[in-house]
Symmetry: C2
Subunit: 259 residues, 2 copies
DNA sequence: GGGTTGTACTTCTCTAGACGACTAGGTAAC
DNA sequence: GTTACCTAGTCGTCTAGAGAAGTACAACCC
């Protein structure tokens, strides 16, 4: 059984913070490893001689930091470390498309996990204002909207919504569920839009409740947002992709010259 | 006074989630604008006819999402939107150094806010393992460690720790508090390490309690982590900079070719 | 063996109340 | 006029207890 200290009533930190601190220290020191169960509420109550709500407040603190996850009826566990996916900016390289692989699969091969795509939806509609701006389209312009969810080893890790100007996508498999080998970028190049460059806008925030459901994450886990715009050789924006990624599962790599 | 619905006891969501949902809706609809005060706990208790802990749990939910901040003795407020700083990857361009401006100040000029640097500390020491690896130095190698905190309009927005191989920094103002015009990159170039390229590794996570204190952020606000490595024209790693940024205050912009 | 039931243990949700600490504003004393 | 104090309102913390709901496992029945 885990060895923990006692509450110091003369400490200026309130008891619940002291308890949280001791548990946090145990986790960070590795005394409690990833996936391991914390002492139950009852055990902590006995040990620290406090009320139940005090113990729960301490655990709430750790949940907010994303250190632990609680499972109804089972216990509270140290959050297991997801495998980190390093996303290099060459993941959209032409060689991968030529090999028939879309970016997500190309990258999965490199790092070594079982990739999956899921909940694919293809519709037509009006581009949201921010998207239309990035595509340099007039407001209310028609776009093809492709949304999907990516999984790694069965766990959802990212949602993505692509917007392609409707006239560009017309008559190509881009409007179908299955876009064929190499993905939508390969199809765009086939109809003359040879890709030249990408821009990405990266941010981070807490997920909405809906995103929490979609990505199957608990409280205390932030998301990375990446808004990518693809331009062809004529510098025409051909696609905007809005992605929301489970933050702890990603590390984005960029390289740029010192001009 | 704010108009809110009532609790539906037949709803499958528990009351505290329903209350959180109504408040969230009011915030997202703009009925409660940034900086505005939410109804007090007492008012919510009267309105919904629930216990105080139930109301507090609802507010806890919103705090965890970073939507509101509570101030002891004053009330609970919709989190005010910080000005977003867009960081383009050209912020380290030579033209800014030549103009005598370090990257942070160069970027501040563009966006328009009052920049500040703060808590500067310069020491020598052993590079942490991960840093030494990025610098391609043997473990235990000596480095100059420069840490500082950046503020925008008086609010802290980022902490940064730079690591420079000790032999490169020797005899330059890099070991001083004030590195002179153009910052450490200008000094490194003066001693022959002309910069060629940068790599950045971007991630996001919840802040540690220490980082929360340092950046003066409450619960529910994630941080962006950026680990930048600078290489000279001989492809020698000359600096690693480990930064922690208040996520809602930043949008990172990158551009890369479609090779 | 295979299925069901029971039970102990766990977390989730809610109630009711108490005291403490901080804020803001008014009032009285100086 | 300035200071000190008081007070109402606010959120922070803690206590004590209750029933609900999910999980794991042993015991039981067929």
């Amino acid at each position: 059984m885990l060895q923990l200290g006692a509450i110091d009533r003369s400490d200026d930190r309130p008891p619940y913070r002291q308890i949280a601190g001791m548990l946090r220290a145990a986790i960070e020191a590795g005394v409690l490893g990833p996936g391991e169960r914390l002492p139950s509420e009852a055990e902590l109550i006995d040990h620290f001689h406090v009320a139940r709500m005090t113990v729960r407040q301490a655990i709430q603190e750790l949940k907010g930091e994303g250190l632990v996850v609680s499972e109804h009826g089972r216990g509270v566990f140290v959050r297991p470390m997801p495998p980190v996916r390093r996303l290099a900016s060459d993941r959209f390289a032409r060689k991968h498309r030529d090999a028939g692989k879309a970016a997500f699969l190309a990258e999965a091969d490199k790092v070594g996990y079982a990739p999956g795509v899921d909940r694919i939806m293809v519709t037509r509609g009006v581009a949201p204002a921010a998207i239309a701006e990035h595509l340099r389209l007039p407001p209310e312009a028609e776009v093809v909207i492709r949304s999907r969810r990516y999984t790694a080893n069965g766990r959802p890790v990212e949602t993505a919504v692509s917007f392609i100007p409707a006239d560009m996508a017309a008559g190509t498999p881009i409007t179908e569920m299955d876009t064929g080998p190499g993905g939508i970028y390969a199809r765009l190049e086939e109809v003359g839009h040879v890709l030249a460059r990408f821009t990405e806008e990266v941010g981070a925030r807490m997920p909405t409740p809906e995103e929490r459901r979609e990505l199957e994450i608990g409280t205390g886990v932030p998301v990375l947002t990446v808004l990518r715009t693809a331009y062809d050789t004529a510098d025409v924006a051909v696609e905007v992709c809005d992605t929301v990624k489970v933050a702890p599962a990603y590390l984005l790599e960029y390289e740029f010259p010192a001009r």
